[in-house]
Amino acid sequence: MNIDLDASSTPDSDGLDLDASVAKSLFVGRITEENLFPYPRIDADEAETLRMVANSLDDFLQDKREDFRQWDRESAQPEAFLQSLRELGLFGLIIPGDFGGIGLSNAGYTRVVEQLSSYDSSAALTVTAHSSIGMKGLLLFGTDEQKARYLPKLASGEMIAAFCLTESGAGSDAASVKTKAVKNQDGSWTLSGEKIWITNGGIGDFYTVFARTGNDPGELSAFFVERSWSGVNTGAKEDKMGIRASSTTSVSFSDVRVPAENLLGEEGQGFKIAMSILNNGRTGLGGGSVGGMKACIALATAQALERKQFGQNIAEFGLIKEKIAQMAIDCFASESVVWMVAHYIDSGCKDYSVEAAISKVFASEAMQRTANEALQIAGGNGFMKEFPYEQIVRDSRILTIFEGTSEILRLYIALSGIKEAGRLLEELAENLEDVFNDPIKGLGVLSEYAGRRLAQFTPLRRDRMVNSVPATLRDEALIYDKYTAELGRVADVLLRRHGRDIVGKQLAMRRLADIAIDLFVGLCVLARVSSMADGGDARYEQAINVAKLFSQQAKRRMNQNLRRIMRNEDEELKELALFVSSERAYPWDVL
């Protein structure tokens, strides 16, 4: 993970299988060890650079705390502040040096976003909406000409970017956008429609817009649109619960003429492009969540050590200790998974969308738990606007909603995994016919499948990961070993039982996803701790402790989810929901 001055990160593949997806493989009962161990380590040179960047950001942000509070109240982000973000170079984080940026790797970028977010979510969002999604499409899929035309201005922040996908009728169902682009005779396009809730909408100059270009719904194309063009308008700044300083507006297009050279990628590939951008950008939100958690832990530990009740520091009470320990576990686990995903992206892994989705779901939810508990530790003070807690809770609430809701991402995780399991089944079905025509080939497939099922049903294969983890973590390695086999088994069972109808079994899917989340996050934690040097100090010992604690918690959750896949009250539950919804209110009263 070198930071290269003149180019964006160069993929390095230290033993990684670039075609494999660790998370998808879990659904066929396989742990792709070479993509987990050893845990990626940042090289000394990049570490030094990132420390310098972090220090500079600290210097810059430290004395702005009062401003951030005020800008939250006023829902403002003054131009002078945007200007200082530009001067610091924060809009060029991932743009290659040739175009005036600093070409950070995804991992380096994630770390910088973490630093920003530990001070202010809105400031971080202005930067990430620009880099993670606003101009990411240009970087990933743009032509050389398009890059030369726009990247220098985007790197300097002369142009701020925004990502325009969501519409009033197209939220989670992003493919259903109605904004339309019609091709003109001269090859240019006429764009019309309205996007809503666009981050950086009001301060942006460069919009990556997704519009329907075919007759089929879902046939989208992506375009670069400049705000200065005739027919482009932005609405008023939304009055929001959190991240209030961040600019969120509608952006509308009335018969905007878009030149042919502003089509991004190929016509009709818009939906795929949108998903690729979101996948690649997920570590930004993950890093942001980690930064927020670190800030919460600093606040909560200080508060717990200072506040006295019943003659003691509240830090001495078991119920407070439980919260602080959980915050540390959540933060460590989030950091481990987010950093791993960033490394996959930097290394050139081709299939990381499920891992990225897992990191986003886990880190954003961990951040929300952490924010809530930090507020709880502060007691009444936590509820007062004079203290930072309430703003942190408000600011973090968005994390599980935008860039894919937790629900949608869980379904995505499970569906992708099931698909992987189904692919193997299909191959088997196809090849069964061949068994008679081509016995050798057929036998190969059969024995692979048989071997896999054998592995699944033999709960403990004690050789896995045995050389990669320290002796104290062998039992934990076995947990992941066992439950990976279990996930493979239930995925297989569910697929056989429901076939294509599995898509409609959302509760079962949710449970599969949660098992996969616990497995992948837990494996990242295990790998990270296994790669730490045993300094014989408390930091190392407690890192081992974190790995053990996370693994035990994960085991309990996975066990519960597994059992409930087979035995549950899902139908009764859905019946109740249907009834309450049809009544459109709570249907009982004590009167």
Partner: protein
Amino acid sequence: MKVLVPVKRVVDANVKIRVKPDKSGVDLTNVKMTVNPFCEIAIEEAVRMKEAGTATEVVAVAVGVSACQEQLRTCLALGADRAVLIETDVDIQPLGVATALKALQEKEQADIILFGKQSIDGDNGQTGQMFAALTGMPQGTFASEVTIENGKAYVTREVDGGLQKISTSLPVVITTDLRLNEPRYASLPNIMKAKKKQMDIFTPEELGVDVTPTLEVLSVEPPPVRAAGIKVESVEELVDKLKNEAKVIP
């Protein structure tokens, strides 16, 4: 005109420091380190001199452990042209630093040597003065304003109860006070550019000097924990206690 700026690697001002259990010093493991704030002011002043055309080259120099390279890189990111590290693992003290810097100055022949007035860790406030004494150069300490004109340095010094303006010949030793300027933030592109700037590393032996500490630290103690206060019942009681117990009012 060349400006030499000695900088020190210190514990960040925002860190709550902890004393090592054996009281031999401050625990530095996993503690955030930065450029001493007064040295940062010195770098800023030197860079402004260069931007104004007064200076042609700004050289940052540190004496200390290998990790000081990080602070030197920060100075390069802030605008210094190149850096020198005089690398040593011994506990560095003002006289040792001044001696090492004197040897470097003989090579560099800088016209202005711009120190911070003190470092926020040891608070010795001696290095600049010792360097001036060793080299026989004039000095303008605690500077709140510096002008270089017609081969002379005009330094406004912050002294008790007022300001003193002095002028000296060059080469000159100047130490910076807090109000001299407000340092800039290192921009990210400049941090990247700093990686390509020259950094030379010498050992004290290579410069022919001895930086062995001359002072022995006997014990480092954390400040005493503040005892809980008391509540008084009335203004009269408060006045009485202030007068007779605390003896802060007559």
